[in-house]
């Protein structure tokens, strides 16, 4: 069966520090992968999506970047965090014929 792993679950980082969040998918090949951010009162905002290795589309210009070094691995990064980067980050995957499945999320607090 397909599973998605996302870590860490919570993270507290100082302003200006780097960030790396990782997401991996098991049990499927060539999935579409997504990074969403959920802020209070704003709903889920799509940040990046990828349809294949090395293929990244950015939906919102910001302080973040994404990479897909392997078929089932998706990484969200930042060189220098801002206070406004705080939020709940969710990774998701989809393949044709299946719905979108979300990971358990990472709560990021920038202090």
């Amino acid at each position: 069966s397909q599973t998605i792993h996302q870590w860490p679950a919570t993270l507290v980082q100082p302003v200006g520090s780097p960030l790396s969040l990782e997401c991996t998918v098991e049990g499927t090949s060539n999935p579409n992968l997504y990074w969403y951010r959920q802020a209070a009162g704003r709903g889920l905002q799509l940040l990046f999506y990828s349809v294949g290795i090395g293929q990244i589309s950015s939906e919102v210009p910001q302080n973040l970047s994404a990479s897909r070094p392997q078929d089932r691995q998706f990484i969200l990064s930042s060189k220098k965090l801002l206070l406004s980067d705080s939020g709940f980050y969710l990774c998701a995957w989809s393949v044709i014929g299946y719905g979108y499945t979300f990971g358990s999320g990472t709560r990021l607090t920038v202090v």
């Binding site: 009162g41 709903g43 889920l44 999506y49 709940f88 719905g99 979300f102």
Partner: protein
Amino acid sequence: EDQVTQSPEALRLQEGESSSLNCSYTVSGLRGLFWYRQDPGKGPEFLFTLYSAGEEKEKERLKATLTKKESFLHITAPKPEDSATYLCAVQPYQAGTALIFGKGTTLSVSS
């Protein structure tokens, strides 16, 4: 611009008091409409996908319906464990695009 609006933002019900949540959308061609349930601090959990107007799907006390402009999530005789935030999302009919989410309806059911 593709857009999803959910109402009400919050809903309080007594156990057994049936009600409906609304999701209205504007999209340039609908590939699918999704309903998710999200508990605090967790990732969204898939409930239903609807593809065409007139379609209905049921799961326990929940029934989702779809028209050309909106979807309803009907909750029949809710229980306290149905308390959660319910998210609606649309997938436009374009290859490679991700889900566009509404802000959600937070449901509280008291006994």
